[in-house]
Assembly symmetry: C2
Homo-oligomer: 236 residues x 2
DNA sequence: CGCGTTCTTGAGATCAGTCAAATCAAGTGG
DNA sequence: CCACTTGATTTGACTGATCTCAAGAACGCG
């Protein structure tokens, strides 16, 4: 199964189908939403450029950010399966998405059996990331959670060639409000933890950039030291 | 897509394939593991009877239970996709599973295109449950988390006909240690919250049984009041 | 009945949240 | 270039939720 899903390139026929589907290309300005929670889905999206995040809003204003969406990742599949999105997607920077029409998706899956494997693969990958988040939120301290987040993020950016300085420095367009809502803490407390890690010369997060000063110590702090799955990113 | 995935019965041909695959049937005694975290997967499993849960263990003994596995649910797909299980599955009661051999899965998916849709559907469903957990853990109080857990669980059991008293009472084979490790709190604190809800005549959890005394108030307490997806359970 | 496990309760410590204000960065208009 | 505005970050003092440690009570099993 692994062989069949993640490790091969598109066939020409598949590529033709993909191009046909990719007709719609959406540009979302920073701070705007690609879709809202509880919307009825019309498309499945692949992130193409920029940063975005999936989040769910409570009636009383609380927000949980479920994950950061980076180029190449798929968004909206569970919504498509159930007829209602459980989360919204917001662009953190200006971002572009490829939209695959839901109406044509079933036929496509029937005809291109490799694609459904790819979908399953991407879906599994996303599930793992949410599980890692749940583990952090449920059983880790704020410091451990932050360490795990930055190590994970660094690895994902590294695979995409979106880092500098040997993968230890990269653009980071999220504010502390977003990170706090992702890691389940208040801005105030996140800020204190950030200051602490900066004083210990482990991690610096500043206006639009994250720099890892001591990856080893950061890894040791993290509550999820298992090696992340080293897998090629199947572009959809 | 929704129509194509969750709302139709098996065709005869599909059913034939399924029976062929279901050859291996495993019985796991209470407290034993179906597989361990970091194992290389050999099968994908469908829960057939009994209660089980997916969990991840830390080196220092901390444990996060990622979800309860009920009959009809699929387990082990992300592991199959990545070649390594990220969590273990433990039977809470004696439990039976149907094992689908990974070796034969790719061929099956190629030949029975409806099955991959089903897999995707089940995978999406599981992702939603983990997301709900992450939302609870990240942004809810202990009381809200417990309320959301019991309401969700009740709904899942109701759909399976595993409840009594109009769906307000059901067998609950998990101990407080398991619930605490699922909801990200200490046994001690969980116990206090349980006692509080019992005093308010909202929820009673006792040796092997859960009784919802006031579903309305429980729902209001819950941080996830959206209606859960009302969807038929596609048996695999 | 005896014993281990699970549940329950209390007291004190700690982590993280709240409230409030000061600081800092970046943009705007004069 | 400078006052002013606005939003993000940082800090302090205090509060509250949750954890830790510890012990007692209840249950289930042989």
């Amino acid at each position: 199964m692994r062989r069949a899903v993640g490790f091969q390139d598109f066939s020409d026929a598949e590529f033709g189908f993909m191009s046909e589907l990719k007709a719609e290309h959406r540009r979302v300005p920073a701070g705007a939403d690609l879709f809202q929670q509880d919307d009825a889905p019309t498309h499945v999206f692949t992130a193409f450029s920029g940063w975005a995040y999936r989040y769910r809003l409570f009636g009383d204003g609380r927000r949980q950010i479920l994950g950061v969406v980076l180029p190449g990742e798929l968004v909206g599949v569970p919504g498509a399966a159930f007829g209602r999105h459980a989360y919204a997607v917001r662009a953190a920077t200006e971002a572009e998405f490829c939209a695959l029409s839901l109406a044509r998706l079933p036929a496509l899956l029937r005809e291109q059996e490799g694609l459904s494997m790819r979908l399953l693969w991407l879906s599994s990958h996303e599930q793992r990331m949410v599980e890692r988040l749940a583990i952090s939120l449920g059983r880790c301290t704020a410091e451990e959670t932050l360490a795990a987040f930055s190590v994970d993020l660094r690895e994902r950016l590294l695979r995409r060639g979106m880092t500098e300085e040997g993968g230890l420095s990269f653009a980071f367009p999220l504010g502390q409000a977003e990170v706090a809502d992702h890691l389940g803490m208040t801005i105030v407390h996140l800020n204190r933890v950030l200051r602490k890690l900066e004083q210990q010369k482990i991690l610096v997060v500043r206006r639009g950039r994250m720099e890892i000063l001591d990856l080893d110590r950061l890894r040791k702090l993290s509550c999820l030291h298992e090696p992340a799955d080293m897998v090629p990113q199947p572009l959809l």
